[in-house]
Amino acid sequence: MSRRILGPFNRVEGDLNITLDFADGKVSAARVTAPLFRGFERILLGREPLDALAIVPRICGICSVSQSVAAANALSALYGISPPPNGLHVRNLIHAVENVADHLSHFYLFFMPDFARTDYQSQPWHAEVLSRFQAQRGSAVAPMLEARAILMRFMGSLAGHWPHTLCLQPGGVTKVVSAAERVRLQQWLRSFRRYLEQHTFGLPLEAIAALDSPAALAHYRAQAPKSDFTCFLNIADSLQLHTLGRSYDRFIAADAYTAPDGCWSPAGLWQDGSRQPLALDDISEDNHSSWLAGEGPSTPLHTDTVPLPDKAEGYSWSKAPRIAGTAAETGALARGLLRGESLLQSLVQAHGGNVLSRVVARLTEVARIVPQMEQGLAALQLDDVFQLATPTQPQHSQAIGLTEAARGMLGHWVAVDAGRISRYQIIAPTTWNFSPRDSQGLPGPLEKALEGVEASDPQALQVQHIVRSFDPCQVCTTH
């Protein structure tokens, strides 16, 4: 057996190192290390509950609004109020902009540049991929950034700026939209849709959302041969990306995009081809392999965050969240499965969660969310309120706020005592996906996904494709 420590992984958000053990040319064990710890769960202690709205977005620059949504949901429950319809719609718009922008950043800036590397120069597609997707320089990069910046104007208009807004409050949003502003927002969204339909997909978004089977996906490639999505699908075929990165095939998601008539992306646990309810009481955190005090599983509302940098069993600052004692994967693929999307269900039924299905889930979600945003904008009743007043005192002593960041399920568990935050525990998407081993020795989802990978060279790109297929956010992971 040989052991290699890989890092620093770049083109992921935050810091990541991975230790790989090799036997017979295959990865026999992987240990994922989150090497940075800041301690937001401690920074929040002793503050007024509403102060969480200023602190938590700063956990993460790429999931900033998602952190705010989770905190606002927790505070809504704590204070016993719910946003009015306009508040929900604007919150969803802001949240959707971040989700879509994150998916595009991942695809164009983080993930695709690996296929432009010289390792693939013998591939027939390499020259084209080099010209379009080379890191920073590819011809696809600048148009994406220009389109993304137009979409991000939603944040200037509705949220003041991005990242790190304070507009999301327990009772709604601080920004009222006027008729003229809605006209501007609609125009920006049309511009963004045009970009997606011309560059990313090569077809109307509705045609992408209608892809309901692997056969339809194959047909799409013929219909839009020049699109960026097709370019990826061709590479995926050539490199058999559906055979890389399979993990436990157990997927979890929280309710997201809650509107007056229900939520667009429902919570649940997807396993063995069927959907089960998400039982929050089954969620625990395990600190066995973390450089943190504590051992076996404890519920978030009973977990403390006390760093122990010299803990012998520790190899990551990340905790190991588990549901009913098992590890689970979260992200766009989980959301799509739980929304009942048949393309993703077919892909997972055939080959599980893998590099291909994770990326397909992300891009098809972009095509589905933009029309949702158009509907949300149209649904605003401009003469109605956007926010209800926050009561002066919390109505409860503890609460949970859940949502979906681009990368998956995000939860905030908060307790207050004498008007101050007495405990604040956060389980972020990549805490699930990139967790270390728990006290039972069970590897986290990425650790599982890397096992068995054939890689004579530990620097081999297939390891990096698997890692990046999860779109990790390491600053959220340890917070």
């Binding site: 420590i5 890989l6 890092g7 620093p8 770049n10 083109r11 958000e13 090497p35 940075l36 710890f37 800041r38 301690g39 401690r42 920074i43 929040l44 002793g46 007024e48 509403l50 102060d51 709205l53 200023a54 700063r58 956990i59 993460c60 620059g61 790429i62 900033s64 800036l109 432009a116 080379q134 890191a135 920073q136 600048a142 950034l145 220009e146 993304r148 910046a149 137009i150 991000m152 939603f154 944040m155 200037g156 208009s157 003041g160 700026h161 990242p163 790190h164 807004t165 304070l166 409050q169 949003v173 009222v176 450089w291 760093p307 940098p309 600052w317 926010q387 620097q459 990096q464 600053v475």
Partner: protein, 333 residues
């Protein structure tokens, strides 16, 4: 041509990556086009570089050893100095703070991007168990990782582009000035911030100025009135041009309906009171505009409150304009 470009290395440590993500919001042209235009070669950035793993480590080591030249070092995020650097380790077991120090002592220009890298920022808030600090400030005090008297090889102290997050324009304009060697020590304020944005106050150009003039105050975020008296707004003390330079096209905290929390200031994350409330003494806010005599503020506030037009008073506590300005009265013939 390429050899004339300034070689910029960007590192991240104890932060959220938000200053990089904000930089991606740059418009017309977008980020990488702008960097090329201003003569900067981004030799490595954790979010954008092609090189990963060993290649990246070898490059960083060559830069730290001086085997490869380094013109500009940008750090985003605090330096984690606690527990002998164990709160941020590189894959080889070396602490990130050690590498940052080696690189800072090689680079011609050292730039702290964001309040974390400049002063410690939110990562240093609370009990700061991790020993988070800035490059040459720790909070308001000179010091930090490099010491308060640090000057980079090019002669400047650390350039502190503070802000949480930074505006893409602050970063790109500072980098353009540095790349053309046209930023002088006198262009930095006493906290090391570029004066072109830090000598303005968030108050300048604020949408709510008429409400401020008449002390017509909001009582909660989302109301039209001035947020200074009751809702924690520090725009009159905060050094930044947020209301004269739009964020994401046309935004600012104030146009978004919520208070400025003075995120360009070293200690913004521990204000000593709730972010959404203004501490008061005898009915007046404690945090007054820094260069205004308190007695005058009290006198003027009292006077202006008594002169507040009904329109301004009524709009102040509404979420949208309810009473419009009246038209000029027609001349009597």
């Amino acid at each position: 041509m390429a050899s004339k470009n300034k070689r910029l290395l960007w590192l991240q440590s104890g932060g959220c990556g938000g200053c990089t993500l904000s930089l991606l919001n740059a418009e017309s042209p977008s980020l990488f086009t702008t960097l090329a235009d201003i003569g900067i070669e981004l030799i490595w950035h954790p979010s954008f570089a092609e090189q990963s793993l060993d290649e990246a480590m070898h490059l960083l080591q060559a830069l730290a050893d001086g085997r490869e030249p380094l013109d500009m070092l940008c750090l985003e995020g605090s330096v984690m100095t606690g527990a002998a650097g164990r709160f941020h380790l590189l894959p080889d077991g070396q602490s990130m703070s050690t590498l940052i120090e080696q690189l800072a002592r090689r680079a011609r220009q050292v730039i702290a991007v964001g309040t974390c890298a400049a002063y410690g920022g939110i990562s240093a808030a609370g009990d700061n168990l991790t020993g988070a600090t800035g490059l040459n400030h720790s909070g308001n005090h000179p010091g930090g990782l490099l010491g308060g008297d640090f000057h980079a090889a090019g002669g400047l102290p650390v350039v502190n582009i503070s802000g949480c997050p930074t505006h893409p324009g602050w970063v790109l304009e500072t980098l353009a000035l540095l790349a053309s060697d046209s930023l002088k020590a006198s262009d930095l304020d006493p906290l090391g911030r570029p004066r072109f944005y830090a000598d303005k106050l968030v108050h300048h150009g604020c949408d709510k100025n008429e409400f401020y003039e008449f002390k017509a105050s909001a009582t909660a975020p989302g109301q039209m009135g001035c947020l200074m008296e009751h809702v924690g707004c520090k725009g009159t003390q905060a050094h930044a041009d947020c209301n004269s330079r739009g964020w994401n096209g046309e935004g600012s905290c104030l146009t978004g309906g919520y208070p400025c929390i003075n995120c360009t200031a070293p200690d913004f994350a521990d204000p000593g009171h709730g972010f959404f409330s203004t501490p008061q003494v005898a009915g007046f806010p404690v945090g007054l505009p820094t260069d205004m005599p308190k007695a005058w503020f009290v006198a003027l506030a009292t006077l202006s409150k008594s002169a507040t037009p009904a329109r301004v008073r009524q709009n102040a506590t509404r979420d949208r304009l309810t009473v419009p300005p009246s038209l000029p009265k027609k001349n009597k013939a």
